[in-house]
């Protein structure tokens, strides 16, 4: 019993240390803690810690910069050699790489394997990734209101090709007011990058 309690206290301390190292963006310290705790146990803690942090960021209790630092430090966890689960890119018309770059960061920090299709990406390129690489999540980053029309065209094209049931469609970027009664275009329903990434992580882990 005493031994169990000692181990539990040690574990709690290690988890706290990992949390502090992630939040302060200390990649070397994270590497050392992974070696000490083992990749599986440390990986489970990373999921809990970054999941909680994402919740805090979305609720306005923590800044996005903390998530940035943590995602960078979390890259100390080796990337698993898995087929891509998601493809991401800025939809045709959106020439800005910024949203795409942050989405890359959020997925890499959580270990989600992905294909980066770049910027100003035509719908067909996203659908090819679904058809040929079997990705389950299509993440389009948008900037302007008109970019949503392009995502809508992507969805229609997917339906016509019989592909729509094979993937979840997610939009990250500008907020948009929906017309009353119109169905949500994104399967996630929240356009904030952190919310989209968390949604993908949770479904991918299942």
């Amino acid at each position: 019993m005493a031994e169990k309690m000692r181990l539990s206290a040690e574990e709690s301390t290690s988890r706290q240390q990992l949390k502090a190292a992630l939040f302060s963006g200390d990649r070397e310290r994270v590497e050392a803690l992974i070696r000490a705790a083992g990749a599986d146990r440390a990986g489970a803690w990373r999921e809990e810690i970054l999941g909680e942090l994402t919740g805090d960021v979305l609720a306005g209790r923590a800044p996005f910069s903390r998530l940035t630092a943590a995602a960078g430090a979390a890259c100390a966890f080796p990337a698993e050699n898995l087929p891509p689960a998601a493809c991401l890119g800025s939809i045709r018309g959106n020439t800005s790489p910024t949203g795409r770059d942050y989405m890359r960061m959020l997925l890499r920090g959580r270990g989600v394997p992905f294909l980066d299709l770049g910027t100003d990406v035509p719908a067909e390129k996203f659908l090819s990734a679904v058809r040929e690489q079997g990705v389950r999540f299509v993440i389009c980053t948008v900037f302007s209101r008109l970019d949503f029309d392009r995502v809508r065209e992507l969805e229609e094209s997917a339906r016509e090709q019989g592909l729509r049931d094979r993937f979840d469609l997610l939009i990250s970027g500008a907020e948009m007011e929906r017309e009353a009664g119109a169905p949500p275009l994104s399967d996630c329903g929240d356009h904030r990058a952190a919310a989209v990434a968390e949604w993908v992580v949770n479904r991918w882990r299942k």
Partner: protein, 207 residues
């Protein structure tokens, strides 16, 4: 505003826009107060990120006067900052990349403030005054922005506007000023309260 001819182009180059970031403002935009656990990580990258911005930014302001009625203004840092940011993100250097992104945004806002007096002086010499500032998505429609883009592109060849209305390079802004021969308050400065980007992280007013 249709049917106008662009008459004069004036370019203000990097000598007018030094890279002098406001450290506290940048950390405020990042939400990195002194107690924030990630503050040290961002502080550690400050010098490198500023040097990187100095190296890759090509700041310029192009002012294109349409007769005596309007002035089209295009401000940009050039494509360097976004290219460098993507490169840093590919190398998993997220803190430095993110800092470069915020530094670039802050510099663009500084350029906007610095270009106001330059443009006002330019107009004053011609006996003109800046009336109201028309912002994209508010008074400046996408079709009007498109119509004004070709002369901007002749002055700034790497600039453009995508068909969904996204300016490139990413770190750019464009607006139009109504001109007047009658003295009036110089309406050259950006007003967050009138901006269409309600979810802009740098918005200085609520609502």
């Amino acid at each position: 505003m249709g049917g106008e001819q662009m008459e004069e182009i004036r370019i203000f180059g990097p000598e007018h826009f030094p890279v002098l970031p406001d450290r506290e403002e940048v950390f405020r935009w990042l939400g990195c107060g002194g107690e924030e656990p990630c503050r040290g990580a961002f502080e550690a990258q400050w010098t490198e990120a500023v040097d990187c911005l100095k190296e890759c930014a090509r700041p310029l302001a192009a002012a294109l006067r349409c007769g005596e009625s309007t002035l089209t203004v295009f401000l940009t840092l050039g494509p360097g900052p976004e290219d460098r940011m993507s490169e840093l993100f590919r190398r998993e250097e997220y803190v430095r990349g993110s800092l470069l992104n915020t530094l670039s945004d802050e510099m663009l806002f500084q350029m906007d403030a610095l270009s106001g007096p330059l443009l006002a002086e330019m107009l004053r010499r011609e006996g003109l005054w800046a009336g109201s500032r028309m912002e994209p998505g508010v008074e400046l429609t996408l079709s009007e922005q498109r119509r004004r883009m070709p002369p901007v592109q002749r002055a700034v060849p790497f600039a453009g506007l995508s068909d969904t209305g996204v300016l490139y390079p990413t770190k750019s802004m464009m607006y139009v000023v109504r001109l007047s021969r009658e003295p009036c308050a110089q309406g050259l400065l950006h007003d967050c309260a009138r901006c269409a980007q309600k979810s802009c992280p740098y918005r200085k007013v609520s609502g």
